[in-house]
Symmetry: C2
Subunit: 333 residues, 2 copies
DNA sequence: CCCGGTCGTGTAATCGATTACCTGACCCGC
DNA sequence: GCGGGTCAGGTAATCGATTACACGACCGGG
């Protein structure tokens, strides 16, 4: 593969001149032409590795995602990748699979590769490497999940408006016994969603007692199903259930079907994260849609700010309610 | 950040010795101890960029995936990433979003980054960069999709056994008018699946006439829905439909629901790719399951062979039929 | 006519590792 | 006692770019 020296020889100039032409500095038109011609003839492409070594910038970002196979995160990762690429950065994605150890493993590798900045939607809350990376001064932005004790801006959605609207929606449909399937402890957003929802319901005189707020052991369908089982076995089972993550909602649905219960006539179901599949379920699921792509883009922007050495504030983007048929209202959709 | 020179000074040896210790060559126990102590004290980590420049190996693989948001490919990418990491390689994933231009863009970037090898599940068939990369001698392995004119081993699933079993399954259930929703022209596997299925049906005396084999314009739900619409409008509509991709199957399901048709009583439905969601649909979908993770692993192994300069044969792994309730049989599941 | 400034380009140092080659110490056997 | 072999470890070249600095050409003004 041709290198800059080959190009310089062919164009009859020094390597410095070639470098300058390619980086858009100084040379005069005629020299420039000769260099570009040589580049074209040789099919020369600059060696990014050598450049990175010299400039100490790799133009690569790292993204460690808590669970790539969760469609919400897949879309998030895709959005991050596109925006990063649009801005001239490559992205290395590491999937933590909700394991702190794997997450640390990935962060370690990414730092070794001298990425310019790191984006993390953290699996769990106790990640030594994450703390270390932050303290070592690596530009860092958290995504979707805050991590207590890590001083880094966090980009995520907040559901106040959407959950307020949802409370009104459910109240209007006569649902009086709502329940929530909460993300496992250690994912701070889960508790927050619960509290916001509870407050919104209270405004309609509807209570959300603790026994109707069940924490799932994990963010997988099976976890949601277990919680749903407990909720349905309550002496006063709920007539509406909100799952704070899309996979847990699926599990909840499974449990209802297994018992022969119908959505929405027996129980209304609402999920966080409006993944594409929800519109294809029967009935189509009402969901709190996070602005997934906007989150990914905002995270990249914040990270680039940090890389340039500027401050980047945390970002909270509003989620919105997408009403479909799983609460009982006839859909316009 | 500490570099090898700092470590050498601290340990009172030359950089060469440090390098040798870290790469497991020669030095004697005592020197070795001193170096490792210095490494630990300084928190030294080798600069991968510098190493790559010198050794001309980046220990990074590239994966260009045709559509990352298709759950089949998400899982495939995840499997590839895990296996690559297990073997000491990082992975850069590029999502082509079924666009040849984006695919070429990604391949270009990956080659510029001097990845050691490239894995591609090609979007479309006419990709100049792909051909170029192959001809330039970049270790290359195709994934899931062959590309005519590109000389590279291909790792994918073949459905002969599964489709034969499916034909028998449908015949036993009395379905006599099968149809297929085929992937768009340009995805060679689509046509192949159709032909294999047709042959398998013939063995049971069941015909699959051309008008009941509709090519979708794309691999998205909407494409599948369009084909389903045409199929249902036929004078003799099908009583069983096979979609050769999971997203097209979803669209087909939507069209049936919109018409008030029931699965499986009115029409049986079978999909390629057994994505996790299928088990949660109503009814749970019978599917031709590709050995997704095994495919990803085999692809990485084949690529490493190519990187080491050895030949790597193409790999065909058998898919298997996962019977659920969408063809009418009571499920054991 | 000469001095200083501007501009284009070349020379060479540099980034941080790996590794070929060389040197010196030591040991063994004849 | 000395030649040769083995081994540890130092010196310096190298990978392919970027860039500080130097230099020469050219120009304009006093």
């Amino acid at each position: 593969m041709a290198n800059i020296k080959d190009v310089a020889e062919r164009a009859g100039v020094s390597v410095a001149t070639v470098s300058r032409v390619l980086n858009g500095r100084s040379p005069v038109a005629e020299t420039r032409e000769r260099v570009l011609a040589a580049v074209a003839e040789l099919g020369y492409r600059p060696n990014v590795v050598a450049r990175s070594l010299r400039t100490a910038r790799t133009r690569t970002l790292g993204l460690v995602i808590s669970d790539l196979r969760n469609p919400f995160f897949t879309e998030l990762a895709d959005a991050v990748e596109q925006e990063a690429r649009r801005l001239g950065y490559s992205l290395i994605i590491g999937n933590a699979g909700e394991s702190t150890r794997q997450q640390d493993d990935h962060i370690r590798t990414l730092l070794d590769r001298r990425i310019d900045g790191l984006l993390v939607s953290s699996a769990g809350t106790g990640s030594p490497m994450l703390r270390e990376a932050a303290e070592a001064g690596t530009p860092l932005v958290l995504l979707d999940r805050t991590v207590p004790g890590v001083a880094a801006p966090c980009v995520r959605a907040e559901g106040r408006a959407a959950l307020t609207e949802l409370a009104a929606h459910l109240a209007a449909l006569g649902r009086r016994r709502p329940a929530v399937i909460v993300a496992p402890a250690g994912t701070p957003v889960g508790d927050e969603r619960l509290e916001v929802f509870r407050a919104a319901l209270a405004a309609h005189g509807i209570a959300l007692p603790p026994e109707r707020a069940g924490a799932s052991p994990d963010l997988r369908p099976e976890g949601g199903r277990q919680v749903m089982r407990r909720l349905l076995d309550l002496p006063e089972p709920p007539d509406a259930v909100l799952a704070t993550d899309n996979l847990m909602a699926l599990g909840a649905l499974d449990e209802m079907r297994a018992r022969g219960l119908r959505v929405p006539s027996d129980v209304a179901l609402v999920a966080f994260d409006d993944v594409a599949w929800f519109a294809h379920l029967d009935p189509p699921l009402t969901a709190v849609a996070q602005p997934t792509r906007a989150l990914g883009e905002a995270a990249v922007h914040a990270l680039l700010e940090r890389i340039e050495g500027r401050e980047a504030p945390s970002v909270l983007l509003p989620a919105r309610l997408v009403k479909r048929r799983s609460c009982g209202e006839p859909a316009t959709h």
